[in-house]
Structure formats: C-alpha cells, structure tokens
Amino acid sequence: MTVRFQSPFQCIQYLEKQGTSSRRLLIASSGGKIYSYAGETGQRLSSWPQDVDPSNANNSREIDTEPGSQDQAPPEKKRKVSSSVEETVQSSKSAAKALAWSSIPILVAHPNDDYLVALTAEDKCVRVFHLQDDGTFEQLSERCMPKRPCSITLADDGNTILCGDKFGDVYSLPLLPSKEPYVAPKLPSRPKVPSATALTVHSKRNLESLEQQLRFSQTENSTEEKPALNFQHQLLLGHLSLLTDVAYVSVPLDGNSSQKRNYILTADRDEHIRVSRYPQAHIIENYCLGHTTFVSKLCVPPCAPEYLISGGGDDYLLVWKWAEGRILQKVPLVEQPSETTQVAVRGIWATSFGPLNIVLVALDGSSQLQCFVLGLDGVLTAQDPIEMSGNVLDVASIGKDSTIIVSVDGIREKGSTQEWRANPTSPSSLIATLRVKPDTENLEWEPVTEPLATNVNSAGSSDIATDTNTKGRKELNDSLYSLGNLRKKHGEDD
C-alpha cells in the first residue's frame, strides 16, 4: 500500500455544546474542505463541501435541483450546470479540484457552538454554517468581501462578524443576515465631471488629457458604478497598512458588572496595535506601540481581558495593559537571538484549566509549542516547551479534560516551511492530543491515549501526491506559511 501525504489541518476548533443536546465536535479545515469529527471518538461525521462522487459528478444538475442539497453545494457547481462542455471533460480529479478555493485559512466557532464561520481563501468568501446535531454543515450564507480577509472575529455575543482585510479595513457584518433583501443605501448621485479644471492643471500634457476627459464625458454618459457589496455591512475603521489581526474585548465597568464597555483591537503590518471603541470605532482610545516589525497575532486571555499578548515578527512577545497602552512584560521567544533567525508568531492561544491559565505560542514553521503560565498580575512565566512531531499549525483546547489538541504539519520537515519530508509517515499525523499531568509542580504534559487522535489520524484527510512538482509544492507551502511575506522589503527609495 502506498502512503500518501495527507493535507494538514490548517485550522481546528473544538466545540462543546452544553444543554439538552450536549455534543462535542472537532472541526478541522484541510485544503479546501472542512471536516467534523465526533469529539470523543474521533469518528468522522461529515465534510463540506460534500464529496462529489465521480460517478454522479455528471449528474450534478439533478443533485442541484434536489431540495435541501443546495445549501451544501459549492457555488461553482451551479456554474457547471450552465456549461455542459465542462461537464463532459470533467474527470474525478477535476471534480475535486473544481472548488473555487484551495484553502480555508480561518475557522471561527460561535460562542454557543451552533454556528461556524469559515473563510474560503481565493473567493474571499465569508461563510456561515449551522452545525447540525449529527455534525453536518448547513451553509446559511456566503458573503464575498471586496478584499481578502486576514482576520475574522465575533462581537456582540457572537451576533456580529468583524472582518479585517488586506486593505486595512474592518467591516462588521451581522452573523445572520436579516430576512429582508438587502437594499444598498442610495448614494447621492453626483454629476460625472472631471475633478480637474483648467485652473488646477497647467502642464500641456495634463491639459490635453483633461480636454479628452471632458469630450468623453459629453459624448458618453456611462455610469460605471463599482458593484457594491450586496449584503448588510458597515465599515468600522481602517488602517493604511495590511491588517493582520482583530480582537474584540468586552470589559465590565468597575463595580457594576452588568455594564460593559466594548473595544476593538486591531493590529497591522506597520507595528501598530490600535485600541478603538466598539462600535464607535472612529474614537481611538490608544495605540499600543512597542513592536519593531509586523504584528501578526493578538490574544486577549478570556480569563483576564484587561491584558493583551501580542506577537509578530519580533523575537519576543509583549504583554500589555492595553487600555493604557502600557507594556508590562517583554517575553523572549528565542533562546539565543541572532541576526539570522526570522521569527513570525503563528498563533497565541490562551486557555484555562481550572485555576491554571495557560498561554501557548507557536512560531511559523516551528515544531515547538511554547508554554507559559499567565499569572494574576499579567506576567507570563515560561514553562518547558512541547516538542511536536511536525510544525505546529493550530491549537484547540478541551477545558474540562485539561487537554489540548495540536494540529501538526506532517508534510514539511520539522522547522521548515519549505522542505518536504522524503516519505509520508504512516499513519499520518494530523493532530496530537496532550494533557496536563495532574499534581505536578511544573506544567508537564503527557500524550493522551484516547481514541480521538488515533481515529482522526488514521482516517486521514485528502491525499497530496508524493511526487507533487516543485511549483505545486511551493503553492501549498505559501498558502500555509504566508507570515514571512509580512516582513518589509525595503527597495529603492526616493
């Protein structure tokens, strides 16, 4: 039996729904797909978009017209219906590749675990799913953003999606769009005349082009309006540089715990962390300035929302009292910093196991998961790092079991974002689970022997051929490890 590389899990989320229908689910995105697994056994429950069986790929027309299946059908399937030529050429391979996206870089779970927000990369589409009790996905909406979103978070108890994009803008969208069809607000129509006049431009060339514009506007009254977003949205704020992360914080007002003040924290490629009010995000309360390269991750620990842990291209983390823009601590991430090591913080995860508040940090392309204990005074104390079998991609935690689930990269060599392993491991290693050893002085971890990881790993995800060519490999590498691109490349300057 030949072993194939298994596409790693880019994002994982662990959902625990309490109440009448208690349910535990592990949700993972891998390549262009989202999978759901039973939280206890690791048995795969469902995937989205639904597998297209090669035998009935040609019948997609019929599938589409079936009631109920529309929600799960990826949009491009509908496109296929119109062109019968494409259908005939279609093989089983192209059916799998026909998705309009190749990766799902963001998964966000709703606080009450009924909904899941996912971003499909290439079509810039924010998709909201309802999670059924049997673990299947029902897509409720798809909203394509004007620019590629970099970060998505939920606000207002999960009723609002905040979406920060590559252009530095943050939009707020309702989680569930209202039933009424969206009507774009009417902009006051302005006559289309060139804004330049003979009074403002003087050079010969400029005057010529102005004349041309005037002639053009007289002859042709073309009103080429940019297609506006066809769903309810609001631009909250904007940075001029690429936005990297958005965090939403709700802090109780002193004394009176029922009253809360909401803030939105935004980080960008130009070292800034901005603290704005929410939803009045035009009121900037503060900037947290202290990074010397890009900021890639913001983490406000749920157990202590007055603190902020930020990381990026610097070889340290910063712990902030963010309301005051004050640095509390500079936490080194590299033992012996050198000029050549380029650090990029991939993720900062805060979790609480009983009274123990833990912060986990992973660097891009590193197999080490760094552990810290967060004190009540906001101070991080470094613990022994955990060495994983591959680069750490994402972390989810199971609070009541004191367990973490780590998604690891089984394709690339440890510590590299580019070099592929010679051979796939068997069984594949997609996730690993670790538990805090009880009753130990220091924070120590032990592997969990429960079936979750074993079953998930043995089921695998989608195959990636071992003989993928260099170009294909590079594309896959870049879609998984893109943080290095945030570093500034200073070119010619004048």
């Binding site: 804004s195 009045q280 035009h282």
Partner: protein, 331 residues
C-alpha cells in the same frame, strides 16, 4: 558604467558646495538653498514601504535635534530613547509641508509654539531642512551683530533668486532674510515621514492643537481616492492626535476635493443621516471666526502652492474644522 545624468550631477555638485560652505564659518551672509536643485515629482505612493525613520512611540521621539533652542537645560531629563527632552510638546503639524512655506510663515506668528512639517519626498525634505537651518543661522547672526546690520546678511542676489524660473519668490522670501523675526525660526522643524501610516508614532493622544493640510495631492482618479490624505479612516487618526477644541485646517484649489473634504468631516447639505461616524468628532468653523485667524491668511498666501495658485489665478477653498470632545460612552 555610465556617468550619472547631468541633472543629478549638478545636484550633487551643488550639495557638496553647499555643505562645504555651511561647515566653514563664513562671516556675513548665509545662503538659503535653491529650490531648483531639490525639485521632485509631486506624487509619492503612500502605500509602499519607504525607508523611513520613525520613533517606536511618541515617548521615544528625539525632538531635541529638531528644536535645539527649546532643549531642557537639565541634561538628566531624558525620554524613553535616552534623548534630551524638550521643554514643550510639538503642538502644530503641517501634513505634507512641501517646501515649508507655511511653517516659515507661521513661525513668527506663534514664536513660542513648536511646529513640525512632515513630508514624504526626500529631496523636498532636504531642501526644507537646509532652508530652516539657513534661516536660523541668519537670525543668530542678526541677533549677535545688531549694530553692524548694514554689512551682515545680504539678501540673496537677484540672479540667485530669479534663477528659479518663474518663481522669484521661492528661494528666499525677502522678509525672511532681512529683519529679525520673533522666535528666530527656532520653533519650526521638518522631518520625513508618511503620516498616513505613522502619525501615531510621533504624537500622543490629544497632543496637537492644530493640524494643517494644505493643497494635498488631489488624486484625481477615483481609483486613487484611497490614497487621499483626507478619508474617514484617517480622520479618526487626526481626531486622536488633536485635543478637543483643536483645529484642522484644509485648503485646496480643487473644488471637487473641497467637497470631498466637507463630506468627510461634516455633512454637506445632504439629508443622509449618518449616525456615529467620525463626522461626530468635528464641527466646521464659521467664516466669521476664520476672518480673525491669521493662520488662514498664512495658509492662503505664504504656502508655495498658494502662491502658485494665485499666479495661475485659481480658486482657493478653505475649510477648518474644530475637534469636538469625545462623546460619552453609551450607558
């Protein structure tokens, strides 16, 4: 290997000579820099990664090099970056100051207020730095030798001043090079920056009392409107840096841009109700009030662009906005 183009060669020669002249203790006259050696195309891409120097935070900014006349005499007083402190905070910013006409015009009006001009173009910035340095030196000489005023600093020769093509005013305005001026230009300085990105690195919350945005790049094409210096997003940053009651001055010769400015700070006769936008933070200052504000006159007449527009008989559209206090948190 090809020789550098003649223009660059001339510029380099000029700078070498100027640097040599500046290092020598030349008695008598101090030459102001000539603009023709510092021309640069009027546009810069605000989105690209320029090689910029900017402080980590406002508390790390070394203003002592910019305002040697205002440095705290106590050498033990240092900021977070270990630099000498200055006695006052910078209060006035000219965003996109260009060749510095506004600063030079404002300097004697507010001699005790520190002002800084920010400009993204290197050549223009170099000119302005040299200009301010020369003005300061002239003033110092005037001050030290008031009795021998007849022989010291001679105004630039006519040939020098008019060599700059059609702009005889540009190299050195006569009034700046003759008499003693209040403050001696010690209160103005300029630095290279991209304010669209790095304004919060220089100024604390509510540090500024005035921001000037004079004759900004109009970015005529709709596709380029995101590069305009006035936008809803950037206005939030201006509001952050301005203290309540502080003023933001704008002037442009492009009518469409003027309406753009009005739209982005205050509704302009539009019924569209906009709740909670950045517009809530600004109110427009009435024309009567502006009539008594000498800064407006400087902005209209002393800036290089203002003079150019006058020469070309263009229009000037002024709009000034006052920063209102932040609204209360909703209960």
């Amino acid at each position: 290997m090809s020789a550098p183009p003649p223009k660059r060669q001339r510029r380099e020669q000029y700078r070498k000579r100027a640097a040599a002249a500046a290092s020598k203790e030349t008695p008598g006259r101090v030459k102001l820099p000539q603009k023709k050696f510092y021309r640069q195309r009027a546009h810069a891409n605000p989105f690209s990664d320029h090689q910029l120097n900017y402080p980590l935070s406002p508390a790390h900014m070394d203003w002592s090099l910019h305002y040697p006349g205002f440095v705290d005499p106590d050498a033990g007083e240092t900021n977070l970056a270990g630099a000498r402190k200055v006695l006052k905070d910078v209060e006035i910013v000219d965003i996109g100051c260009g060749f510095g006409g506004l600063l030079v015009g404002l300097a004697p009006l507010l001699p005790e207020t520190l002002m800084v001009g920010m400009e993204i173009r290197t050549q223009v910035m170099e000119y302005l730095e040299n200009r301010i340095q020369a003005l300061r030196t002239q003033q110092k000489k005037l001050k030290n030798a008031p009795t021998t005023a007849t022989e010291s600093p001679a105004p630039p020769t006519p040939s020098e001043a008019s060599i700059d093509g059609a702009a005889p005013d540009s190299a050195a305005t006569p009034e700046t090079s003759t008499g003693l001026v209040a403050g001696g230009y010690e209160n103005i300085s300029a630095l290279r920056s991209n304010t669209m990105k790095f304004l919060p690195n220089f100024f604390r919350r509510q540090q500024l009392s005035k921001i000037f945005i004079c004759f900004p790049d109009p970015h005529f094409k709709a596709r380029k409107h995101k590069a305009r210096i006035i936008s809803e997003n950037l206005n939030a940053e201006y509001a952050y840096a301005l203290r309540p009651g502080g003023l933001l001055y704008t002037i442009t010769d492009v009518e469409e841009y003027h309406h753009w400015v009005l739209r982005h700070f205050r509704e302009e006769g539009e019924q569209q109700a906009s709740e909670g936008g950045v517009k809530d933070l600004f109110e427009r200052v009435s024309d009567e009030e502006l009539a008594n504000d000498p800064c407006v006159e400087v902005m209209r007449e002393a800036t290089e662009e203002g003079k150019k527009v006058t020469r070309n008989k263009g229009n000037k559209y002024v709009a000034v906005f006052r920063r209102k206090a932040d609204p209360e948190w909703p209960a």
